[in-house]
């Protein structure tokens, strides 16, 4: 494929190009536009017969949508969008009284975030299909999604973090997921945080958090934070096999710039990959070697029995300072603003991808250990030893392409690296450091994903490109175009483009897992016997209405196809009405919806056996309709009711009824 002209020379040429690329595409986009590179039998390789299932689940972040999207592979069919960090009026997530708590933070209620990296939970270094973690960048948080329900099970806020990008990558048995701060910031009490920005070097600190999810419940808490000199963290991955017990983070802005980073943070030839001995950190924390420092944060958890969120507020957090603990943290020089930080399936090699570099450095864990033992250091960075580049290097992949970002692996010793600037995937051999194949992407690939490709056991078969730019690939839809992904076969010697598929939000990163590991976990409905919601109505006998001052509470039920009660009178202007609705169905795929005219928040979508609450504040006198929004039976259009609203001073008695013309009860 043709390379853009500008890009043969220096690193500054690369910067200039990246800049042009953002502002006017034609100047820099790879010139081989949409000519077809799809071969004849590609269609049959992605065809999933109507009524049959895909082979893999593909869990794709929604980027600035704040959610997680679920696709089937190889078809690319969108199966579901899981609400995580953003409110979702379609299901009532973030609007119902029970779900609001999932989105509370030390800043109050936050209705949106920017979700970047899904990461599957692991057992023995292999994705197990139990959970999927995902990070919220903007107001630093990590969410855990239960793959039995495809719902957000818990969200934890990360204190002392600013831009939670380097996250949420897991250790081999999901003992921890990590969260490295993108921005460094001043920490501590108010006085220590209120400092001039230009005192970055003295006052700003970075940190990486280790978060522990409880194996039974998924509830998350912060085990410890390791503080670091001020700089930016980008990505990270756990060691495995020989490097089990270590964690690797890419760092940039070791220039410690605090303005115009585009230029000021691209000065040095090398930034760092940071190696953390997390087993040692864990031991130090256990031995009481850390210090508790201020760091207010929320941990929100979804209780599936009460169908409600529970929030724990922590005031502080345990920190470890590597300056006090030799052997905890080492830096390894890595060319030019490393982005991806990926560990091969054996755990022997760590791949740094300098996004402004014209080569890919590969580090050897064995050599890192030797360099540490032999004290082969070239100096220190703010008191932390920097190992010699040559001492820890396995080797460099020379001239692989332009703008290497991320690398995943197959089970046969190959790596697949995405190249944003030259818009391609390059396949190379990890031992030999030789490029063996390359294939263009349309356009400007960011992350890529091989099923199991960042774990001990890649399932291989496909690599999926998550592109940053769509341009002319689909029917245009005004100034804003669909986002998109591309599926390639990696079964043969040559990578082969099979399919383009559109995605919701920005498909930032993704994980893929064989469907067989997830399907058996699926929850079909919530058992009504186990419903412990304080306002549950377990059967129509429990339905009622009650006034508590200005609050009116309605215990209501749904079943195909009526509400009980469906005639309510005695509500007055100035009241707040709480509809506590229990779906009495006990079968798969029978949700009911609830909508009431003038509701200023959302609808409710109720799964079988579940109770949720919608608050409604009437604004005018009269009779207001309510109805079921989810087509539930042939008589769905009959599933409706009325609420009579009277003036504030009226004395209409409070009643709630369902009236049957011919039932003899």
């Amino acid at each position: 494929m043709k390379r853009p002209l500008l890009l043969t020379g220096t690193a500054s040429g690369v910067i200039a190009c990246a800049f042009v690329l953002l502002n006017s595409l034609p100047g820099c986009r790879p010139s081989g536009t949409t000519k077809s590179v799809v071969t004849g039998d590609a269609a049959s390789k992605v065809y999933v017969k109507p009524g049959t299932h895909d082979e893999f689940y593909n869990l794709v972040s929604g980027g600035f949508s704040g959610q997680l999207a679920v696709y089937g592979l190889p078809s690319g069919r969108l199966l579901r969008e899981v609400p995580v960090f953003s409110v979702d009026p379609e299901t009532g997530y973030g609007y119902s009284e029970e779900t609001k708590g999932m989105l509370t933070t030390s800043h109050g209620f936050i209705p949106w975030d920017d979700s970047h990296h899904p990461e599957l939970s692991q057992t023995d270094g292999i994705p197990d299909g139990k959970w999927c973690f995902i990070n919220g960048n903007n107001t630093p948080r990590i969410a855990l999604i239960d793959l039995g329900t495809f719902r957000t099970n818990s969200i934890i806020e990360i204190p002392n973090s600013a831009g939670n990008h380097s996250s949420p990558f897991t250790t081999g048995n999901s003992e921890y997921v990590v969260a490295g701060t993108r921005f460094s910031v001043p920490m501590g009490d108010d006085a220590s945080r209120d400092v001039p920005i230009k005192t970055y070097k003295e006052n700003f600190k970075g940190n990486v958090s280790f978060i522990h999810p409880e194996p039974e419940t998924g509830k998350m808490s912060i085990a410890f934070q390791v503080i670091t000199p001020g700089m930016n963290f980008d990505l990270s991955h756990t060691g495995k096999g020989v490097s089990e017990g270590w964690f690797f983070f890419s760092c940039y802005n070791t220039e410690q710039a605090y303005s115009l980073l585009e230029v000021n943070a691209s000065q040095r030839d090398k930034d760092f990959i940071m190696a953390v001995n997390w087993k040692l950190a864990e031991q130090l924390a256990k031995d009481g070697k850390g210090k508790r420092v201020p760091g207010k944060h929320h941990s929100n958890w979804w209780n599936e029995k009460t169908h409600s969120s529970e929030t724990t507020v922590y005031e502080d957090v345990l920190q470890l300072d590597p300056k006090d603990h030799p052997g905890l943290v080492y830096f390894m020089p890595c060319p030019k603003s490393p982005h991806g930080c990926d560990v091969d399936p054996t755990g022997k090699y760590i791949v740094g991808s300098g996004k402004l570099a014209a080569l890919i450095p590969v580090f050897s864990f064995e050599k890192i250990q030797k360099a540490i033992a032999g004290n082969e250091v070239e100096g220190d960075f703010a008191g932390i030893p920097v190992l010699k580049y040559e001492s820890v290097l396995h080797g460099e992949v020379k001239k692989p392409g332009l703008g290497p970002l991320h690398t995943e692996f197959d089970a046969n010793g190959n790596a697949y690296t995405s190249f944003f600037v030259s818009s391609e995937i390059v396949k190379w051999n990890v031992e030999k450091l030789e490029v063996v194949d390359r294939v263009p992407t349309y356009y400007s690939i960011g992350h890529l994903c091989v099923p199991g490709g960042d774990s001990k056991k890649p399932w291989g078969k496909y690599v999926i490109a998550y592109n940053k730019i769509t341009k002319d690939r689909y029917l245009p839809t005004g100034p804003e175009l669909t986002q998109s992904a591309q599926l390639y076969s990696i079964d043969g010697d040559k990578m082969e483009l099979l399919l383009d598929f559109p995605t919701t939000g920005e498909p930032h990163y993704a994980q893929a897992i064989p469907a067989e590991l997830v399907k058996p976990r699926e929850v079909k409905f919530f058992k009504i016997e186990e419903n412990e919601h304080p306002f549950a109505a377990k059967g129509e006998k429990d339905t009622k209405i009650e006034r508590r001052g200005k609050e009116v509470h309605v215990w209501m039920t749904t079943i195909r196809s009526h509400f009980a009660p469906d005639n309510i009178e005695g509500v007055k202007l100035g009241d707040e009405v709480y509809f506590h609705i229990t779906n009495l169905e006990q079968d798969w795929d029978v949700p009911h919806g609830f909508a009431i005219k003038g509701a200023a928040n959302a609808e409710l979508l109720l799964m079988p056996g579940e109770t949720q609450t919608l608050k409604w504040v009437p604004t005018r006198v009269g009779v207001t309709p309510m109805y079921c929004t989810d087509f539930c039976s042939a008589l769905h259009q009959e599933m409706q009711g009325y609420v009579r609203v009277s003036p504030a001073n009226s004395n209409v008695p409070l009643t709630a009824l369902t009236v049957s013309v011919d039932a003899e009860l």
Binding site: E529, S561, D587, S633, E664
Partner: protein, 89 residues
């Protein structure tokens, strides 16, 4: 047994079945154990999907009511208890 059956009825059946002769969503249960064989009733409670596919009487009920009798997730024991409760109507 009858009492347990009644408790299950209140939570899982009452929204659609009266204990009198008249229909709510599904048929009233008064006299159902005289109209129907016990095995047939058990099957309606525990195997509704198969019944609606193969049993002409169940299919006729659907044609009349236009709502599918739902699978309410009863155990075999719960089914027996509800049947005993039906016999008292």
């Amino acid at each position: 047994m009858v009492e347990k059956g009644k408790a299950t009825y209140d939570v899982k059946c009452q929204a659609c079945h009266s204990t009198g002769p008249n229909r709510v969503v599904g048929p009233g249960w008064k006299g159902v154990t005289e109209r129907r064989k016990p095995e047939w009733i058990m099957n309606m409670m525990l195997n509704i999907d198969v019944m609606l596919e193969t049993d002409p009487e169940a299919q006729k009920g659907l044609e009349e009511c236009l709502v599918r009798m739902p699978n309410q997730g009863l155990s075999k024991d719960q089914g027996r208890e509800v049947l005993e409760f039906m016999r008292t109507l």
